[in-house]
Amino acid sequence: MKIRTLGICAMINWKLLLFGFALFLSLFFGLPPRQTNAETGLNEQKPSRLISFQREIRPIFSEFCFTCHGPDANQRKADLRLDTPEGLLESGIVKGNPKESDLYQRLNHHDPKKIMPQPKLGKNPTKAQIGLVGEWIRQGAKTETHWAFTKVNRPPLPPSVNTPNHSPATHPVDRFLWEQIKNNGMTPSPRADKNTLIRRLTLDLLGLPPTHAEIDTFLKDNSPTAYENLVERLLASEHHGERLALDWLDAARFADTHGYHLDTARDMTKWREWVIRAYNSDMPYNQFTIEQLAGDLLHNATLDQKIASGFNRNHMITFEGGAIPEEYLNNYIIDRVNTTATVWLGMSISCAQCHDHKYDPITQKDYYSLYAFFNRLPESGIGAVGNSAPFLEVPNKNQTDALSRLDSEINALETKFKNQAKKSEAEFGPWLSRFKERKKPIWEPLGQAKTHSKNGAILTIGKDHSITVTGQNPVTDIHQVIWKNKTLPTGIMVEFLPSPDAENRLGRSANGNMVLTSAKLEMVNQTGMATPVPIRTVYASQSQRDFPVENLLLPGGKGWGIFPDVKKNHKLILDLGAKRILSETDEIRLSLGYESPYSGHNSGRFRVTSTDLPNPISFSTFPESLNVMDPKWPTNASKDQQKLLLDWFLTTVSKDGSVFKEEIAVLKKKRAELAKTFPTAMVMQDMANARDTFIRIRGAYDKKGDKVVQGVPGMLSPFPAGAPNNRLGLAQWLVSRDNPLTARVYVNRIWQLFMGTGIVRTVEEFGSQGEQPSHPEFLDWLATEFMEPTHPAMRGKAWSTRGLIRLIVTSEVYKQSAIVSLDVLKKDPDNRLLTRASRMRLPAEIIRDQALAAAGLLDRRIGGMSVNPYQPAGLWEELMGREDSAKFTAQFFVQSKGADLYRRSIYTFWKRTSPPAALATFDAPDRETCTVRRARTNTPLQALVLLNDPTYVEASRKLAEKILLNNGNTQQRLEYAFQAVLSRNPIPKEVAVLTRVLEQQRTHFQAHPQTAARLLRVGESPFNNTLDHAELASWSILSSVILNLDEAVNRS
């Protein structure tokens, strides 16, 4: 088979991987390209080394064979599996003799029906790969379990290596890496200069550039521990936790909105603060894991531990109308399983959602057994506009104090009320007799009435006096009811009732809602002249959020709505004040207007009654169950019933009682409003009676297969003895010493943070289909050291992230220069051997934070709510904007003010459906799903951001102000500017370029003072008016040039 020309698409496809892999081999083992027989692919020469099943053969089988002969029992052909040692032996391998081995023959077969893999699958191994398989059989076909699934053991340290640029290696990191470098005939680079080191280390550990003073101190520190001192200072900084949290937030798919559909706001501030605090206190990774996966299940869990469990509530949530709860519940749980597997096991097991995994021994049953751990939350698939249950209220100190103050005031008033009530009981008897003398119900039906619909609906009065609306449902309407009465009532009650014609809902719109925009009462005399009756106040038994009944009193208000309680009776009471006598010919006309922008939101059935009792709204709470009008009442009533009426009397009629009641109501309202402002945090919680979990056939949420119970994939490591069979046990299993993946995966990700690439490049995939580790022994050593520390850098603390980082950054490998020769670049373009420091483009957030820090604008507060820095107008609104957007949160972008504009980017409000534009341009993910490896692209859109985004233009100007306030000549000022961003002084050639730009701009802005003034006004921070405008403008340009340098957006 010929290797085709490779291009863009192919760059990630298998051919290239293998091409790269082959090159790798020759790099690593110093082998010349292998000579293979063109016909058979068999290596005709005696090989000089042993073929590794793990590294060379298993990946070939995984790539080409496992789909049909792998772990997935349903897809397995010919009952042959090649992913287990037993299976391989059954495949007709004759050890030592490839030509006699069926497996080998099949790879080479001339008969298209017999050759494997079958041509129709479109994937074929290369001759070289077939040759490797043959050679492996010739050497005896030794098999091993996939490396990542075997327990981590500590390999011995390689001997110390002498290299030209360094003293003999003592640091274990150096010993492992330099051995490899030496074996490949290369040399490590010399140590980087101190300027580079302080910038690299400060950016890596804090995500911020060092200050002038910090650079100065470090440069002047000639002690042998200068570097170590710097490391310790940075590790102790509060900003260190923010830097590490950034990557964890990606992995945890943290965001400030729900993601689905209208993408409204949520608030997981407390969880983010927890992560930052946990890193800052160097919480051991095993504890970090347990608290985030199962903090709520810990014995006597603290509030913090419960908050930590919010890790698995960061997934997207929907409340889209019409969404099927079960479908989304399934989505949420799937997300938890997949995220947990990627973050801790470094494996995608999502294949097993639909069928047994094709490449790794994870069955569909394993998948749903993990699923069962997360299927115990008291949650519905349909969330809320904000934080969705289960969540905790997490008030701050001020809030709890205010709350207890209110509570004691309420208590005091209630005591007063009780005392007063005793006195008021005396009034009750006479009131009751007067009430009963009326001999009619509180609310009387209208008698003869006429109805009218403005826009052609049909209004029919039924026997129960209710009016049913049928016929067409106009876009807007006004329903009128006209009747006669001797007096003008003191109050009107309109009951809105479910209509059989509207799906037994109150409104006739698609969702059963109705929006009443006006209620008008008029007296109409014989000549048709109408006199409006003012409405004193209105009451509704319930109102839709943002559509309160008080809207009816506002001319042109949004109206009163009832959603989502569209099937329940609602009462509307209009208080008309004192009763008035009417002339016999006068008519009373009630007009109910439905003139909102919401089409057809008309009532479907309603009943109008009236009363002549004073204070009609007080009767809204009248205990209707009591048949007070019965002549025998209260003699035939129970004590409880009598008390019910007495209580009502005391709180609504009795003069003194009602005063207290009003005061109490005011306080209670205050209390409720206060409670509404309490932040909440979504958390995990297990129900006592969990839902059953079933295998979902082909992953479909509604196709249930066998029932399963919670459990872990036992092939990795056994469930720890005595661990509870819930999420807590799952977390304990993940961090048990026997788990082969958790430590390897985590140290690999931390390594990636400092070296640019993981030891396993596919940090998200350690399974058969992932890439092989570049330094397998070193990976295992590092993982063991992490769990069972021996090196002083670990300070004897197991699972210490800080110790691990200290260990890595104190190595010579980390401290190398990034400068590379063309020769080395050709030999190892990807720097997999780490013969030099990797130059990495900074993450989006750090590019912004660096500019703000250099400009002196950065707000360094830790924690708190997310903020909205500059963003071009309209980005959210274009996607979301609707006429009713105001009902929801996070629909309109409201730019923050003052210090909030300059907070660290980790606090930027993350709207999933429209992620922060400038950050997204620099590859910040949308946070819809778990991300453990960001892309690092290099695009023209990034140039536009750095050149034109007000963030950077303003930062350039503020940096210029700092430069100018720092006295000195041009050379000194240029040095100050360069140090602020690049932590070094410019070389003479650079000074020449910078000086030229500066002088050009000075001339330009001196000639165009207006232009200079416009530039200085970009951004919300005021400019320093004591400085010369043209000078400030030209230095702003110069600062912008520096912030745009490749070096500025890279760390090297």
């Binding site: 291009g7 559909h261 109308g321 014609d501 400068i819 692209t937 416009r1014 912008s1040």
Partner: protein, 480 residues
């Protein structure tokens, strides 16, 4: 040797070693890299000769009613207000919005249909202009999807998966074929607000996202309202052309000094990207100058001074201008098609937004000889139910979401015009002939672009992902 040249070679080398992704930017493909993206001798970037080189996807977000636009059901009037027969519904799931309704009354379309063109394709009276173009259109009446709500359905048809995280069609095309322009992004998205429904469904950046593909392939929002068309395109206040040029010269000189010393090929790429950004600053405003078009053209598209169509007509004209400039994939997202209630009034507004401009776009492309190799696609994420949501009255009804069948069409490059493919039952509820799953639809689009949908893959977490997941059959009968 010129340092740029040296590093171009290095970049190429890195590229062949599988690390190209992080070095490639828009347009950089064509300057730094060979055009042959898939190998073999089949022309740049394709598996076989393409019929279409560019795409305009007119996405009608919200789910336009196939029953009121394309799928003519004259027999429905005699079933008016009858309950949907259970033999038709067959217990299939319906959304939470109508699953509580006691009745599912059949609502025939209030709109008249007529036949158009030589082929005689039926179209609603709401679409007189598009109707005139049916001889260039292949109408598929049997598209179907499993999704029944907006968020999963739009995500599904745009990315091939209901769940977020996968690349959009346009991103796959950009990834597979690269760009034909040096000055503009390969994949551009334009959004407009429908005038028919003011409380319509939201859309999401993931609909043009790059998922797990390198983020250079994500769609770039091109905004036609206030502000920059491409974010951060304009120089800030107080920085004019001269200053900008001086800055860029300074940045480039300093970057070259760094390149000479450090030898990181990424620096060479960054130098090139800054130049490209500078060129975009000219190319984009030039693209936007629609006033250079003739009055006749502007009238044909129905571009008014104060558009009521939320900008859709202007976006259609811009799409044509982008095609002329080599943009690979343009996606127009027109919101407002979610007619749960008051459908007749709302859909009339929606059609007034799009009918004339789309007709004009097809004619314009044709006149300029662009339609031959430009693929134009039209449709939404699902169709709508034959039964009324809420009350059915003589002049009014609403329709709920319906994914079991809906109508989409394609025209232009490689499409067999004048075809109607697929049939639905008398209620427009189930497919009776030639079903086209959205994966089939997407496979067909890629096929017309010269791409075998099974071979356009990207490895992520150990699996080779495709736009069409593990499905997709090319719909050959609609291909010329």
């Amino acid at each position: 040797m010129d340092p740029m040249q040296t590093f171009n070679q290095l970049v190429n080398r890195r590229f062949f070693l599988g690390k190209g992704a992080s070095t490639v930017g828009i347009g950089a493909l064509s300057t730094l890299l060979p055009q042959n993206l898939f190998g073999e001798n089949t022309g740049p970037g394709t598996h076989f000769p393409p019929k279409a080189k560019r795409v305009i996807y007119l996405f009608m977000s919200g789910g336009p009613s196939h029953l009121d636009l394309w799928d003519y059901k004259p027999g429905l009037s005699k079933h008016r207000n009858e309950d949907l027969p259970s033999s038709i519904r067959m217990g299939q799931r319906i959304t939470g919005m109508t699953s509580g309704q006691s009745r599912l009354p059949v609502a025939p379309s209030l709109f008249r249909f007529r036949q158009h063109g030589n082929c005689g394709t039926w179209a609603s009276e709401l679409l007189p202009y598009i109707g005139k173009c049916v001889d260039d259109i292949a109408l598929v009446k049997s598209v179907h999807t499993e999704s029944i709500n907006h968020d999963p359905a739009t995500t599904h048809i745009q990315t091939g998966s209901e769940q977020p995280g996968r690349p959009a069609l346009g991103a796959w095309v950009s990834y597979g074929l690269g760009s034909d322009t040096q000055n503009l992004p390969a994949f551009i998205v334009m959004i407009s607000q429908g005038s028919g429904n003011k409380t319509d469904q939201p859309i999401f950046a993931r609909l043009w996202g790059s998922g797990f593909l390198p983020s250079v392939h994500q769609g770039v929002r091109f905004r036609t309202g206030k502000g920059d068309a491409v974010l951060y395109l304009s120089n800030p206040d107080g920085i004019d052309e001269t200053t900008r040029r001086a800055m860029l010269d300074g940045v480039e000189e300093l970057n070259r000094l760094a390149l000479d010393q450090i030898h990181d090929p990424e620096i060479a790429t960054r130098i090139a990207q800054y130049e490209l950004a500078f060129r975009m600053q000219t190319a984009v405003p030039e693209l936007q100058e629609i006033q250079t078009e003739t009055r006749q053209t502007l009238n044909a598209y129905g571009i008014k001074d104060n558009p009521t169509d939320g900008g859709f007509a202007k976006n259609c004209l811009l799409a044509r201008r982008m095609m002329e400039r080599g943009v690979r994939f343009v996606q127009l997202m027109h919101r407002g098609w979610d007619q749960h209630s008051d459908l007749p009034r709302q859909i009339r507004g929606q059609c007034e937004d799009v009918d004339k401009p789309v007709g004009a776009l097809l004619n314009d492309l044709k006149q300029r000889g662009l339609l031959e190799d430009t693929l134009v696609l039209f449709g939404g994420e699902f169709g709508r139910t034959v039964y009324s949501q809420g009350a059915l009255s003589p002049n009014n009804y609403g329709r709920d979401h319906h994914g079991r069948c809906f109508s989409m069409w394609m025209a232009g490059g490689g499409v067999k015009g004048g075809t109607v493919y697929g049939e639905t039952d008398d209620f427009g509820y189930n497919i009776t002939k030639n079903p086209v799953h959205l994966h089939d639809w997407n496979a067909t689009i890629l096929h017309l672009m010269g791409i075998n949908h099974k071979r356009l893959t990207f490895r992520q977490q150990g699996r080779d992902f495709r736009l069409t997941d593990i499905a997709g059959e090319v719909v050959k009968p609609i291909i010329a």
